[in-house]
């Protein structure tokens, strides 16, 4: 299955990059104005025309896309006009930090969501279930941006225990693991918590349903230990819908990361994506979109593989 999916990914990525070029070309944004910024407000028309020629943005859509594609395949991702540096450098500087943030947040959401879901399902209607479910519904509706500000207010201002933004302390130039770890806590916590309700609600429902099934009743009747029932059986079948969720949450995670990176001044790819889009920075935008699409495809593949592992009835080539 993995092989087939990988073959399939090629055309998808091609289509997506072409789509990005097409949409960007149709957008009302002018790459020359975006490049010039405020200086463009006082630049003469002749100067703007020269800039347009230098930036090479007047070619037809297909030609630009083909040029980008052929040079990308040889490893040259082009130059980002908005960052004034090669696209490869932009990605190298930022992707790692975004991945670190997303992985920590994802791990937090999956682990805590599962644990809480199982506990809640074990005693449906109990105080823990009611409290966490209510909280989960609230969090589902809460904007990530607002959660971020709330977290800064509480942990950084009221308690003064965690830094409120950046990758390291503002006055620190060296990126040390300790510094990054402490600065990662709040953004990862906020992003993780914003994703947690989905996992919690799915696991809770799945496990609760499984606990109601005949095999569980039978096992209980035979006196099988409660822990084995819960972990060996109910969790296993209750996890199935959640595994699908893992893949489908990747796009959410990417958009959520955008807001979180903004609130916490986290130097990831998210801010670069927005800048690239509003500045019609084709090379950077295409590279970022390819990365995001690849992440989504990989997420889906992963969840399908996990699903197959968890449920033997599902064939890998079904």
């Amino acid at each position: 299955m993995a092989g087939r999916r990988t073959l399939f990914a090629g055309p998808v990525l091609l289509t997506v990059t072409f789509g990005v070029f097409a949409v960007a070309a149709m957008s009302p944004f002018d790459p020359v104005k975006a490049y010039a910024g405020t200086a463009g407000l006082t630049a003469s028309q002749a100067e703007l025309d020269q800039l347009r020629a230098n930036l090479d943005v007047d070619q037809p859509l297909v030609a630009r896309w083909w040029e980008w594609l052929t040079s990308a395949l040889t490893g040259d991702l082009g130059t980002s006009s908005v960052m004034r540096q090669p696209v490869g450098d932009v990605l190298a500087e930022r992707v790692g930090w975004s991945a670190l943030l997303a992985l920590c947040a994802f791990a937090l959401a999956v682990l805590a969501g599962t644990a809480l879901g199982v506990l809640a399902a074990r005693r449906q209607g109990g105080p823990l279930d009611r409290a966490v479910s209510a909280l989960a519904y609230t969090l589902e509706a809460a904007p990530v941006f607002w959660l971020g500000l709330l977290a800064i207010w509480f942990f950084s201002i009221r308690l003064g225990v965690l830094p409120s933004g950046g990758l390291t302390d503002a006055s620190d130039d060296v990126v040390s693991p300790g510094q990054v770890a402490s600065h990662l806590v709040l953004p990862a916590l906020v992003l993780g918590i914003s994703q947690l309700p989905w996992f919690f609600l799915y696991v809770r429902q799945g496990v609760a349903d499984a606990l109601d099934e005949d095999p569980v009743r039978g096992a209980r009747a035979r006196g099988v230990a409660e822990r084995r029932i819960l972990i060996g059986h109910a969790l296993r079948s209750g996890m199935l819908p959640m595994l699908t969720l893992i893949g489908s949450r990747v796009p959410e995670l990417i958009t959520g990361a955008l807001l979180v990176e903004t609130v916490f001044s986290w130097p990831g790819v998210a801010a670069a994506t927005v800048q690239a889009a509003t500045s019609v920075d084709f090379p950077l935008l295409a590279a970022l979109t390819v990365s995001a699409t690849a992440a989504v495809l990989a997420g889906n593949l992963l969840s399908d593989l996990l699903y197959g592992l968890a449920d033997p009835r599902v064939g890998f080539d079904g």
Partner: protein
């Protein structure tokens, strides 16, 4: 194991995991830094430059920290020598500027600075292949030559009195910047200059770090470490200032008033600094529109706006009424061109010109309704407030202004006939701003002269002001421009806006310069951070 014990174990494990997790994470934390030494400064800014290369426009108005220009400004915006030994010698015809260079200056990599670096910098910026969007500002230059290693001579296409103001732009080292792609090379993110500070790191979207240059020709700065943290959102910036992570920040009026002068998180006092500016907000009155093109309507609108109330209500007092591009406290301002809010006079002018009030309270003349659209950039709160206030004031005089929000992409094609809530302002010289804003040859050229103002007297005065080397003649020329704007306004100027900064009370002698419309990295009380001294306790 019973159900209860399973639950207890699970709960304990979860709690333990969460606790150790939190403890492990918070152990190395240092949210806010109570003991930060006074030789370290951290400030919050709202926007960062795309590039740190002067060849692409960084620091063109001076104060670039990493670099020096031939000249620089003092606190009163007077020109002072920097990399030049003295102010330039100007030839009698105003077309040759000769700069003698300071000797013994070195770039921070140890390489000596010389005339070839100056020539390289200007020639590269003027090169058509260089993507520098501000090169129009150097339009007057015909050529730049080195004479020996210590003299640089600029020749101009036309006499240009304010040219020396342009030579505050930073000088790049030829031995580094000359060996790479000027538009995307390393130099755009890792620059080397002669300035008081050396770049230690630039994490785009997060912060820019500097350390004092120990071999700076002007003496090593007392503030050894200086960091600019990039925080777009006003509330987040205010929050991080409050938490003690920042020593200072730029803030909008409401937040600045709430934080300035109050005790900080660590018991430090904070001071509110209000920088006077040339930053105006105005309404363009397109000449091509049947309503806004009528001089009577223009004059009436100019009198019908209540500028004082705008300053009090929209800017919370942090600004002043504007009657033209020049603020009232500038030496270039023409006394007597202030106009008081006079709704009755506005109505009389409209009545006299034949604009009759119809049943719905809006005036008409020859079947034309006194109504026009006014665009403002969406998301800009200050412009929106100004647009709404302008519309409400105009309504009282019987003129309907329909406000609409849009991005520049939407607004630009409509600028010929629709009014726009615009902004601008450049303090260094009246020519920089007014020539672009008012000269008829620039009507509709990009964003220049958006209203397509066309006034022969003003055109001539702008030319006189630009070319004359005599300060008295220049003052007279710009007086003429301001008086003409009173008789036939092409724009209704509303306010000049103060830029507000809140800074911890740890240093001595903080000042602000008069600031332009857009505030680059060099604006704010840290414009001369190299001269700050820690306060003695």
């Amino acid at each position: 194991m019973t159900a209860r014990s399973v639950r207890a174990v699970a709960a304990t494990m979860l709690a333990a995991t969460l606790l150790t997790g939190t403890a492990a994470c918070s152990a190395p934390s240092s949210g806010g830094d109570p003991g930060r030494a006074a030789d370290t400064a951290v400030v919050g800014i709202a926007t960062e430059p795309e590039s740190l290369s002067p060849l692409l426009g960084y620091g063109k108005d001076g104060n670039s920290k990493i670099f020096d220009g031939l000249l620089t400004h003092d606190a009163n915006m007077r020109l002072r020598p920097a990399l030049a030994e003295a102010l330039p010698e100007v030839s009698a015809d105003g077309r040759t500027y000769t700069y003698r260079l300071r000797q013994g200056v070195k770039f921070s990599d140890g390489h000596p600075f010389g005339a070839k670096d100056v020539v390289f910098t200007y020639r590269t910026i003027l090169d058509a292949k260089t993507n520098n969007a501000s090169k129009t500002e150097l339009d007057a230059i015909q050529g730049v030559q080195a004479r020996g290693d210590d003299t640089v001579v600029f020749t101009l296409k036309y006499p240009y009195a304010p040219f020396a103001e342009r030579t505050v732009l930073p000088i790049a080292p030829e031995h580094i910047a000359g060996r790479q792609d000027v538009n995307s090379g390393d130099f755009t993110t890792r620059p080397v200059g002669t300035g008081p500070y050396v770049l230690t790191g630039w994490s785009k979207g997060e912060k820019i770090g500097f350390k004092a240059n120990p071999t700076y020709w002007g003496g090593e700065p007392a503030v050894k470490k200086f960091t600019m943290v990039v925080i777009k959102d006003d509330d987040v910036r205010a929050t991080r200032l409050r938490s003690g992570e920042l020593d200072g920040a730029i803030l909008p009026p409401a937040l600045a008033k709430a934080l300035g002068g109050k005790g900080g998180a660590k018991g430090t006092a904070r001071t509110l600094h209000a920088a006077k500016t040339f930053d105006y907000r105005n309404v363009t009155l397109p000449t091509a529109h049947a309503v806004t093109g009528d001089t009577a309507v223009r004059r009436a609108l100019d009198l019908a706006v209540d500028r004082t109330t705008m300053v009090d209500k929209l800017l919370e007092g942090a600004g002043k009424p504007a009657y033209g591009p020049v603020p009232t406290d500038s030496p270039w301002f023409t006394a007597g061109t202030e106009r008081a809010y006079d709704l009755d006079q506005a109505k009389r002018i409209l009545d006299g010109a034949g604009w009759k009030t119809a049943d719905d309270g809006i005036r008409t003349k020859d079947g034309i309704r006194a109504s026009f659209p006014l665009w403002y950039t969406s998301g800009d709160k200050i412009r929106q407030d100004h647009a709404l206030a302008f519309a409400s004031d105009a309504r009282k005089a019987g003129i309907e202004v329909k406000t609409e929000a849009g991005t520049w992409e939407v607004i630009e094609p409509r600028m010929k006939t629709d009014a726009v809530l615009a902004g601008g302002g450049s303090p260094a010289d009246p020519d920089f701003d007014q020539y672009l804003l008012l000269h008829s040859t620039l009507a509709g050229d990009g964003f220049n002269n958006m209203a397509r103002y066309d006034n022969k007297t003003v055109d001539q005065a702008l030319l006189d002001g630009r070319e004359s080397g005599d300060p008295a003649a220049r003052k007279a020329a710009y007086d003429t421009v301001q008086r003409e704007l009173l008789a036939n306004p092409g724009y209704v100027f509303l306010t000049h806006i103060d830029h507000l900064y809140v800074v911890d009370d740890k240093w001595e002698g903080l000042t602000t310069q008069v600031e332009p419309h857009d505030h680059g990295l060099g604006a704010g009380p840290w414009w001369n951070i190299e001269n700050w001294k820690p306060k003695r306790k």
